[in-house]
């Protein structure tokens, strides 16, 4: 592994990221929150300076990245950005760990928060919180690839190390054109949601923040009671629609928008995803109706199932108060996640489908030991490497889940809190049950638990293997600088 090459690519990405701090600065200035502005300015300058320094020390590097170097760039950049994103929180007085937690939860579009006081932070900071989710939802690298005319390194490797899902899907032969198309769709959907929410009566600032965190499947809300605070059926249904889109494959939606709406329902994963939404919402509505019998169980059930399945994490009700049978539906969809190639986190519908089909075929193989039984998706054979990577993903996912849960329990949380806090952060969902329920926050956890969950969000967003590959011992023993002498 050659640090020189990593530093060069990371430096370019980092320098560009500094520009992102301009947006919250303008918002803060617009609302006259002058005392918050230095936090953003420092963040921006620091990002630029770090980027410049990395470029300077890496002079003489060649353009090519090996696979492990690409993974390092992606993992490193995401951690670095989380740190940079935490600067405005530090400025307004958050503790170091809390600031990093909030920043990582933002950039990974998780939506877990340590915020308990929604009154004192300024609008600039709430905008920044939503905006980090918006950028992280589609992907930092995807944004850089779309904006920079030419990024050093193997763009394809970088792009897919960050993209959610086990398969590589392109809209055009060039990755850059794919990234531009995806960002265009993403921005267009966000704008549509802002308008819809605004017309439905939500304050425009809140509409912008919510639109950004819906499409990112993030879940940060500037309102202490999340969507429940607006008490509007129309707003809830609008957000349901956009959460559904955020959890579906963007490349597929792009093709559908190009005039072939049929592709949506010919896609195996999209059909399964729509089926899970219908089944989850239906069964939850029945359970809610049986338990409480009050008005609009279908609306609350649909909203909550979509919110957890797409890993957004909004709440229109304090679902922590539900009975266990009802909570079980939400717990089940927590482990599913959205579609591959969406903004959602979690293991993804596609991986579940592939593992399910693989398992069924293995059972069939006991009947026909000589059978040629490939896993197929949409009529095409899924290569063995992909199946293997999916199995490895689940193994590491469960392993990471077990380790993180153990740490959180070890540092004083109860079982329900620990299990759902880990699921909520590793799956980039946000809220869990118990002490980390939708109307409470992660603030009460032990600092070590918080650090563990920060790592869980990072590992979960980059789909486990990208980060865990760096744990190999020889990656570090072979690491060196090159080109420093010249």
């Amino acid at each position: 592994m050659r640090f020189t090459n990593i530093a060069q690519v990371a430096g370019r990405i980092c320098r560009l990221f500094g520009a992102a701090f301009a947006a919250p600065t303008l918002v803060a200035a617009f609302y006259g929150e002058w005392s918050d502005i230095p936090g953003f300015v420092i963040g921006g300058i620091l990002a630029g300076a770090i980027g410049q320094t990395l470029l300077r020390v890496s002079r003489g590097a060649d353009d090519e990245l090996r696979r492990i170097e690409s993974l390092s760039v992606v993992s490193g950049v995401w951690m670095l950005f989380a740190m940079l994103c935490s600067i405005p929180y530090l400025w307004v007085g958050f503790g170091v760990i809390d600031a990093l937690f909030e920043a990582m939860s933002g950039i990974t579009a998780t939506g877990a928060t340590i915020l308990t006081d929604f009154e004192s932070p300024g609008r600039g900071l709430f905008f920044w919180r939503a905006m980090t989710q918006w950028i992280g939802g589609m992907g930092v690298i995807a944004l850089v690839v779309a904006v920079l005319p030419r990024l050093a390194g193997e763009v394809r490797q970088l792009f897919f190390a960050e993209a959610p899902g086990p398969t590589e899907e392109k809209l055009a032969p060039q990755i850059r054109k794919t990234a531009v198309s995806l960002w265009r769709l993403y921005a267009g959907l966000t704008a549509a949601e802002v308008i819809a929410l605004g017309l439905a009566g939500m304050p425009w600032f809140d509409a912008v923040c919510h639109a950004m965190t819906t499409l990112a499947a993030g879940g940060f809300s500037p309102h202490a009671q999340s969507i429940m605070g607006y008490d509007s059926a129309l707003i809830e249904w609008i957000i349901c629609l956009f959460m559904f889109l955020a959890g579906a494959n963007f490349a597929l939606q792009y093709r559908a928008l190009l005039g072939r709406p049929g592709v949506l329902f010919r896609d195996d994963e999209f059909r399964a995803y729509a089926g899970i939404v219908a089944l989850g919402a239906g069964s939850l509505a029945l359970l809610l109706w049986a338990a409480e019998g009050d008005a609009a169980p279908l609306r609350r059930a649909t909203f909550q199932v979509l919110s957890i399945l797409t890993t957004t994490g909004y709440a229109t009700t304090d679902f922590d108060l539900w009975n266990d049978r009802t909570k079980l539906v939400l717990l089940a969809v927590m482990f599913i996640g959205g579609c591959a190639g969406s903004a959602a986190g979690g293991p993804k519908v596609l991986r579940h489908m592939l593992v399910g089909r693989f398992t069924l075929l293995e059972l069939r193989r006991t009947l026909h030991p000589r059978g040629v039984l490939p896993v197929k998706l949409g009529g095409k054979v899924v290569p063995d490497e992909v199946i293997r990577s999916v199995l490895v993903f689940f193994l590491f996912y469960v392993l990471t889940f077990a380790v993180c849960t153990a740490v959180v329990i070890g540092f004083g949380a109860d079982l329900e809190t620990a299990v759902t806090a880990t699921t909520g952060t590793l799956g980039n969902i946000g809220p869990g049950f118990g002490d980390v329920g939708p109307m409470s926050s992660y603030a009460g956890l032990h600092p070590i638990s918080k650090l563990t969950l920060i790592a869980a969000m990072w590992i979960g967003r980059l789909e486990v293997v990208t980060v865990l590959a760096l744990l190999r011992f020889e990656v570090w023993t072979s690491a060196h600088w090159r080109g420093m002498e010249s």
Partner: protein, 445 residues
């Protein structure tokens, strides 16, 4: 008709022999040894390449009504067709050895090559096998008039309801008629007083509804075509094409045994429901462990006659209902059926038949050849000017029978007092010697 056949090999030779008696056939081949084979045939041999315009001119291409390119190389065939159509051949048929070429032909992309029709023999064989599978219990099957008329051949066992009474008093479904019977290797056209015995192979023709009822009557245990278990041994060109078609047929459960692992993966990738097994179709252990004996139909289409025979016999031994086998060497054909294979077919035979079927014989065109060539089905159109005449007054030659009448869109199975009128299309089954008589039937009238 003036016909030029390019290539006197495995396809050209039987074609030339089949067509030589009734037409002016010129065979073009660059190998003089091939010429010697044709010495005894009633055809004209022209030495030279089919891709050479001078050679084609020597074969009289400017007067040619049909050019059949059946050389071994696809490229030669394509060039021959292109030249032939430029030089005056009114129609060209091109034989191909690869499926890719068939795709372009199906899309009508070969017009500018001067190819009117492209035949890939393997596809003809696969189509024949498919027809037989879709008619469970039958040993031969054909369809005419876009599927509105069906023809089936059955071998009768002692329990068959057709065995015993005279044909005239048989209780056949409406719209079905017996058109030929083979008793101890000799085919005849049945008359009212003919009695069928066990072991006879009978050919029946009729409309679709009638034939559906007939299937239930003759092969009640076999059930519907749609609920069969079919095993294909060999996933080569024929096996793959057949599997593709059966894979789409509702309810047919399909199993393909293929020896080559890479080919097996390709089959598994493209077939959606079929079970692909990697192994040797002649491996008894594999056949037993996969319970191949439960199959309703076993199709053995390996590219090797001996291994096909072995696989088929193993299948028969394990209790498969019907065995269909590919045979390449014409001399093996009779042997295969003698040792218990229900249907033996060859790709070349199927291809030759498909060409012979198409060649217009004036007003009587050949639709099918039955029972090893002892009988055939021809199609005639009743010319304008004929007064409506009852079937029994038509003075049909001996050894011929009108199977069905097509009038407009309607399919009629005529009785003796039915009136035949101008514009009717008759499907007549006759023994070989009676063909001329049938053809001449309306020429004077």
């Amino acid at each position: 008709m003036h016909i030029i056949i390019i290539g006197g090999g495995a396809i050209g030779y039987p074609l030339a022999k089949a067509l030589g008696a009734a037409h002016d056939v010129f065979v073009v081949d660059s190998d003089p040894l091939v010429g010697e084979r044709f010495a005894d045939a009633d055809v004209e041999f022209v030495a030279g390449s089919g891709a050479n315009p001078d050679v084609l001119r020597r074969a009289g291409v400017e007067r040619c009504e049909l050019l059949i390119a059946a050389a071994q190389l696809d490229e030669v065939n394509i060039v021959a067709c292109a030249l032939g159509s430029r030089l005056g051949a009114s129609k060209t048929i091109c034989f191909a050895t690869r499926e890719d070429l068939l795709v372009g032909a199906a899309d009508g992309l070969y017009g500018h090559f001067g190819i009117d029709e492209l035949i890939w023999p393997e596809a003809e064989l696969a189509a024949d096998i498919e027809r037989i599978i879709m008619a469970p219990g039958a040993t031969d099957a054909e369809v005419f008039a876009g599927g509105r008329i069906e023809l089936l051949e059955y071998q009768l066992d002692a329990a068959s309801p057709l065995v015993g009474p005279a044909v005239a008093s048989l209780d056949l479904p409406a719209g079905v008629v017996i058109i030929a019977v083979q008793h101890e290797h000799s085919t005849s056209i049945p008359r009212g007083e003919t009695r069928l015995v066990a072991g006879d192979r009978v050919v029946l023709m009729g409309n679709r509804d009638g034939m559906t009822q007939l299937r239930a009557l003759i092969a009640p245990g076999v059930g519907d075509a749609a609920s069969q278990l079919v095993t294909i041994i060999g996933g080569g060109d024929v096996g793959y094409r057949l599997a593709q078609h059966l894979d789409r047929a509702d309810g047919i459960r399909l199993c393909v045994i293929e020896r080559d692992p890479a080919r097996g993966e390709m089959l598994a990738a493209t077939l959606s429901r079929a079970l692909i097994l990697q192994g040797d179709g002649t491996d008894l252990e594999l056949l037993e462990s996969e319970d191949i004996g439960r199959s309703d139909v076993l199709v053995s289409v390996i590219d090797n006659d001996e291994r096909n025979l072995l696989a088929s016999l193993l299948g028969r031994q394990l209790g498969v209902g019907k065995v269909i086998t590919r045979v390449s060497k014409p001399s093996n054909h009779r042997l295969f059926e003698r040792v218990g294979i229900d249907v033996a077919l060859s790709a070349r035979g199927a291809a030759v038949m498909s060409v012979v079927h198409q060649i217009d014989g004036g007003r009587a065109s050949l639709l099918a050849i039955l029972q090893e060539g002892q009988a055939r089905v021809v199609e005639l159109t009743v010319p304008a000017g004929l007064r409506p005449t009852a079937v029994k007054d038509l003075r049909l030659p001996r050894d011929s029978i009108i199977g069905t009448v097509l009038r407009g869109g309607e399919v009629i199975v005529p009785r003796g007092d039915h009136l035949i009128q101008q514009g009717d299309t008759l499907l007549v089954c006759c023994k070989d010697p009676a063909v001329r008589g049938v053809r001449d039937l309306f020429v004077r009238g």
